[in-house]
Symmetry: C3
Subunit: 362 residues, 3 copies
């Protein structure tokens, strides 16, 4: 059974093929209107995310399938009473594919290991959110005509923002891209993102100045800065304006730069920017739906032709020990034994949340 838990579960060729089908769906929707007739998607949203849930549901419905939902409050009670493994074993009796969202890291991997149907990770805590990254990559491809040789500005909360980490993971796999990382010092990219850049040989720059960076960019990827991430309230107040995209500062950007945002926004992009043709964040929504349709089709297709690909190509693993990430699913799932792998740099990591355990072991 094939599942998609991490953007790295998909090869470049697979991503290209997903994009081709997504574009074909957009062009010839009626061709696909009955592709999933008689099939059901279960949306297991153990933490609420209306936008992501509706996108998956719309994707399934446009393929002619139906949807079984699990939402908000209900799921929080589910979370207490039952393990992820038991939930997905049960849901495998009711549905044909699962989209899961969970606040604990690694929950989607646990789901994919226990389900007898394909699983799409719709966000596991701060860890992975591969379909958002696919939507981002498709948007870049459709708007810029290429995925290579681009100068990409990522702006906002680069320390905790899951979306930018995944985007970096995705876009450093293509040739000649260059990143400008724009954030307050307190929220700059973490060490491991820097490591990804170096490993991939991707040029990158760190700055706290959006206005200076703006004219150089082909893509500006804005994210939200959450008040609670900044220790000093007066610093937050000063940043609010600094990292807010307005019609005025957009005047200094290239005429073909595109503005992206994973949404929801608060005030980091002025509503007035929406009318600018460079504003692409609602196109991202549409592309999100299209790429999810494409992914659903792919997963059903692989099920039929019975491809037995390992969904988590992390090499040899070993049991034992303890993961020190307190958001890791291993801490709440019943009888789930910790399991680890050694990455290319020799670091021991939890297979569920990819947390470095060697650090803690010291």
């Amino acid at each position: 059974m094939r599942s998609v838990i991490d953007i790295l579960d998909l090869s470049i060729e697979e991503i290209n093929s997903l994009m081709d089908i997504a574009i074909d769906i957009d062009t010839h929707p009626s061709k696909y209107a009955k592709s999933c007739e008689g099939k059901k998607m279960a949306t297991l949203f153990f933490e609420p995310s209306t936008r992501t849930r509706l996108s998956h549901e719309a994707a399934m419905l446009e393929l002619g399938g139906t949807v079984l939902g699990l939402t908000g409050t209900e799921s929080s009670s589910a979370i207490k009473g039952e393990s992820v493994a038991d939930t997905v074993k049960t849901v495998s009796c009711y549905a044909d594919i699962i989209a899961i969202r969970h606040s604990f890291e690694g929950a989607a991997l646990v789901a994919s290991k226990n389900a007898s149907i394909p699983v799409i990770n719709a966000g596991d805590g701060g860890h992975n959110h591969p379909t958002q990254t696919l939507a981002d990559i498709l948007t870049i491809y459709r708007e810029k005509g290429t995925l290579s040789g681009l100068t990409i500005g990522i702006c906002g909360d680069l320390k905790y923002g899951r979306t930018v980490h995944s985007l970096v993971n995705g876009m450093t796999r293509y040739e000649g891209n260059r990143f400008i990382c724009i954030s307050p010092e307190e929220l700059t990219i973490p060490e491991y993102t820097e490591h990804i850049f170096k490993e991939a040989g991707t040029e990158f720059e760190i700055t706290d100045n959006l206005e200076e960076a703006l004219p150089k960019l082909d893509i500006l990827y804005m994210t939200r800065i959450q008040k609670e991430r900044i220790e000093k309230p007066e610093l937050f107040e000063s940043l609010k304006g600094k990292y807010s995209l307005t019609v005025d500062n957009l005047a200094h950007a290239k005429p073909d730069m595109i503005v992206m945002h994973p949404l929801p926004r608060v005030n980091e992009i002025s509503v007035k920017v929406d009318d600018d043709p460079r504003a692409c964040y609602f196109k991202q929504c549409m592309n999100g739906k299209l790429i999810r349709m494409s992914l659903i089709l792919k997963l059903f297709d692989e099920m039929i032709i019975n491809t037995q690909k390992d969904f988590s190509p992390k090499g040899a693993t070993y049991f034992g020990g303890y993961c020190h990430n307190n958001k890791c699913i291993t801490h709440i799932e019943q009888e789930l034994e910790s399991q680890f792998y050694i990455d290319n740099d020799g670091v021991n990591r939890c297979i569920y949340c990819d947390y470095e355990i060697s650090k803690e072991a010291k």
Copy 2:
């Protein structure tokens, strides 16, 4: 894009045509069973209203369409994080039509201005609820065979009750109707409803005595009196019985009078009245579904023939100023500028909630 935000957005001719189609749907349901195949309705219920939500969903399903839902808790978190405008811009990527309910007045108008798909107002605070009024009008038409020359008793909370205000707006447009307004003095009709009666040349009477009024009525429209609306608890206790319809007092009504109620009821109509053939409140439910089916068809139809009708025919508007209605959407929506119009009496009003601003400006 055509939307329905206010009952006044529809002409008498349009209402007549909606009713004809609703009746045809009731007679020949199979003719319409696939009319909306491949289309999706998003029910954006930012405040819970199970009955109204299920009615819209049932309508869409019976037309062969599908439904994407947003409910209760989930939406309350949505409300904090994202503007109505952003929500509907996103949902326009996922669905083909929106039914929206919101606790702030004017929210549906904001939605219709930002969506690229038709919007049905399923209730915006105490402001508008046009599909309830359509259901009421259809019920009167089917049960009485006419919409003119009727004596209509409205009973209960006439001050705050949104449903009766809309009904007055709807039924004063037809010839020769007469209203008897039955309520405790504290909850009598507001000045602007009186104004509507006078403007339309509709005869009306104000009384606090249900028993005296009952024999004169062709229609009795009951509404609930909420305890918290009455200052003195002892007054509420005395009213409870006074405005309760029982098998006993129904004996004094005309044999062909009809009893209506927007539901849910608490105790203002005894359960035993349900078996009386004059009880029409569950027929109202059924008519509510039918008229919503008719409306959905109309909105999709106008979309196809591309009618570009102004959805809010309030004449010239101007920006600036501040709406003093603290339930107005302008107070919570990001970057939404206040906007006003001048009504036929020269009163300045907010285009979102129709609140008179001149009063406050003094």
Copy 3:
């Protein structure tokens, strides 16, 4: 209109026929894929039960029907504002069949008396849950090839566990079954269950020792012991291990014994047991969906051929008096008069919750 409120509403022949169709659905799903096209199920879950709700929804969708939902929070507000009778009268306008779950006993019976469409009881408090019992019986039939002559161990909370009471009701109707009731003394079977055994002439044994009982069993039906049911915390701790099924103690069971559980489990069955071929609790899930499909078909079928069978064959009833069960629906439903029947032993019982009123009357 036929409804299923209690497992005893169905004759042995009807249960056999439901099982035959369920097995046929499993074998030839495509034959049934459009059986309920154009039909809608309303899932009225006034108390959350994700598993049961999804099972009903999956059943309806696999028959080609659609679903209208009512979930968690929303319903709790519904519960305050409106009677069960009014809710189902309204929902009868929107849907073709109702599955209802409610925390008050007798709520499903009230629903069936007021709906104009069939009602399936999906659990009314601690009272009835007939579709769970049907799933259990189907699982036993499919796994053991018979419903007679079996030694059935029921283990865990036998005092409050609704599932085991229903199972006893169901399985004592078949010949030659024998029960071993395994529980701590505090949670042993109540008097009325003992009475059912005696009435049916079913052999039974009471013990607190799972290990001793295990080798004798054809079926082990495990249930969860809730911490709050045991007064002394130290006793709960000692029981936890005692009533936990592990790979080790399963070694002493017959090779063809089957392990059942209504789920969700907490720790009374080790996750490692899941891989044992005797573990049948996820098969129960699948069978639950299949038997619900079968039941939906039967109820629609009987509606068409217009069978007017009394849904609650409790004999003569009388009005008046008061039910002393504080979880009985008569205490919250508007204008619902208490009603009683006299059972075979001369005990006066509430028709809604089957509570013995004679005891209290003393």
